[in-house]
């Protein structure tokens, strides 16, 4: 099983590399990867705006989704009233079942006007001293894409976190309570530290989905290959540009540059899962000198 998975991945990478190689040779690897100008008409192809857009939208998504998901998971498994739990659990499962194009439409019709009319002007007024929240409130942009992604990855993170919290041994929590901990203190002292590696794993699972999500992001990010510090500005992501331009890419150079972007995306997810392994292992090890 594992072998065949590696084989398939290998074939994909090989094929993509064949398509990308002539273009990358012509453009030069460094100027391709670090170039910030993407203009198919004049034949200049730089990958940086897409890498930037992918990383920024995913970072916004995880920053918004992680606290909410962990809060929901704690509510569902530890704190909330028994009768409310199935209702909230069902609502989360429903979020997971919505097709991403529907998220995109919701984003266009509801989220983007809301951001443009209310949220972004307010953020600009109160947090405008940060470069993140400066500039005209366009609605379409990094923030819209990040919020949509947050909603989309929330069910993943929350449901995995619920499973993680179920593995916390009850005696551990009782140990904290017996010391005179309140319910919240017991969560902080016993439940969360024990579940931390699993929660990080859940977050990375959500992050992986956010990096690869195409449709909903394409519909709300504005699709312009630019790098801006402001979250209000429009941008572009790796999967979005591949989906939008591949059908119309006629020159070999353009096709090759897009295949190169696919390789870059693959590389990012690969790096991410490697980082995840290291992180989870480091966190699971706990204080120095532990054998377990």
């Amino acid at each position: 099983m594992g072998g065949s998975a590696i084989l398939v991945a290998g074939i994909v990478v090989l094929k993509l590399s064949q398509v990308a190689a002539p273009a990358l040779e012509k453009l030069g690897l460094v100027s391709y990867l670090l170039g910030s100008d993407w203009d198919p008409v004049s034949g200049s192809f730089g990958a940086l705006p897409f890498v930037y857009g992918t990383l920024v939208t995913s970072a916004v998504a995880i920053a918004l989704a992680l606290p909410v998901s962990v809060g929901l998971a704690l509510f569902l498994s530890e704190m909330g009233p028994k009768r409310l739990r199935p209702v909230v659990g069902f609502a989360i499962e429903t979020l997971a079942a919505i097709p991403s194009v529907v998220y995109g439409l919701w984003g266009l019709f509801v989220l983007v006007p809301l951001l443009r009319g209310t949220v972004e002007p307010l953020l600009g007024r109160f947090l405008g001293f940060l470069p993140l929240f400066r500039g005209p409130p366009l609605g379409l942009g990094f923030l819209a894409a990040g919020i949509i992604l947050a909603v989309m990855i929330l069910p993943t993170i929350a449901s995995v976190t619920i499973e993680v919290l179920k593995t916390v041994p009850p005696p551990l929590k009782e140990g904290a309570l017996a010391l005179g901990a309140t319910r919240w203190e017991a969560i902080r002292l016993a439940v969360l530290p024990y579940g931390r590696p699993g929660i990080i794993g859940a977050a990375l699972l959500g992050l992986a989905r956010a990096l690869g999500e195409t449709m909903a992001v394409t519909m709300v990010i504005g699709n312009s290959p630019e790098i801006h510090a402001s979250l209000f500005a429009p941008g572009y992501t790796l999967p979005a540009v591949i989906a939008n331009e591949f059908a119309e890419a006629t020159s070999e150079l353009h096709t090759g540059a897009l295949a190169g972007l696919a390789l870059v995306l693959f590389g990012i997810t690969l790096l991410l899962s490697a980082a995840a392994r290291i992180l989870v292992r480091a966190v699971a090890r706990g204080p120095a000198g532990a054998r377990a």
Binding site: K82, P169, P171, L172, E174, G175, A176, L177, A178, L179, G180, A181, T182, E185, L189, A190, P193, Y194, R196, G286, P287, A288, G289, A290, R291, A292
Partner: protein
């Protein structure tokens, strides 16, 4: 661990326990030791099932009460009523009085969180916080109580009291999971002692340990008795006979008999007690 005792006496003289204990002191000089913990008409259960009926008993200060009985007799429920851990289980209920130095801790307006700081508990299986170091495990309760600063002195004293100091003093920063099961259990005892409880509850604290570790925990009980009031649930009648001053025998949710340990084991008044302690059933 003889060195541990004089030092610990210095840090917390027995007289400093509580005002009510001082009053008890006067009674003690003429009469029997004052009861630290009094249980009156305690009943408990889950939903419609009753697992404990009308229990009355008193535990004198600085003594050990052993609670024995066959599985399912309600002895663990009884223990968990004493620090109100029982009511954490959904559907669980408990009625009756639970007097600690005369204060009814089962009253509706008593915060169980505050009660649990006066009544500590050690569990059947060692349950140190796995992500914390040995030092932080002992200090965990202090942090909960908002006692800031360097806990080094208290950590050392509690580890000495738990007869663990010499084994861990060179690696206080190591994970609690690097200890053996018996060491982990003594760490949990040290953790419970750090918040200076008045009563210490132990739910079969040696049942998951090997004989050597068990012997260490039993020795420790004798030392802790000098300063704490202890209630210990045990499956092991020899252990009850070895460590306790009083023994209570529970059967099917009823307290059948309670009295001095010697008498319970040599001249029980009830037939059921005799059958149980002589091994006719159990």
């Amino acid at each position: 661990m003889e060195t541990a005792r004089p030092m610990s006496m210095l840090v917390r003289p027995p007289e400093a326990a509580a005002p009510a204990a001082v009053a008890g002191e006067a009674v003690r000089s003429t009469l029997a030791p004052a009861p630290k913990l009094v249980v009156e008409h305690l009943a408990a259960g889950f939903g419609r099932a009753t697992v404990l009926r009308d229990v009355d008993l008193a535990v004198p200060e600085r003594s050990i009460l052993a609670v024995i009985g066959p599985s399912g007799c309600g002895k663990s429920t009884f223990l968990r009523c004493l620090n109100r851990m029982h009511e954490l289980v959904p559907g669980a209920w408990a009625r009756g009085k639970l007097l600690l130095d005369g204060d009814d801790l089962n009253a509706g307006d008593v915060d169980p969180v505050l009660l649990r700081r006066r009544v500590g508990m050690v569990f059947q299986r060692p349950n140190p916080f796995p992500t914390m170091s040995i030092r932080d495990n002992v200090a965990a309760g202090l942090r909960l109580n908002g006692i800031a600063g360097n806990h080094g002195e208290i950590v050392e004293r509690c580890l000495r009291q738990a007869a663990l100091w010499d084994e861990v003093k060179d690696r206080l920063g190591a994970s609690a999971l690097s200890l053996s099961g018996g060491q982990q259990q003594r760490l949990c005892i040290a953790r419970a002692l750090a918040v200076e409880p008045e009563v210490l509850l132990m739910d079969e604290p040696a049942s998951a340990l090997d004989p050597i570790a068990t012997a260490k925990v039993e020795d420790l009980l004798h030392e802790l008795k000098a300063r704490y009031t202890i209630v210990i649930v045990t499956h092991n009648m020899q252990q009850a006979a070895r460590v306790s001053d009083q023994t209570a025998f529970f059967y099917m949710g009823d307290l059948i008999e309670v009295g001095p340990t010697d008498r319970i084991f040599t001249a029980p008044r009830k037939q059921r007690t005799e059958d149980y302690v002589t091994g006719k059933f159990g």
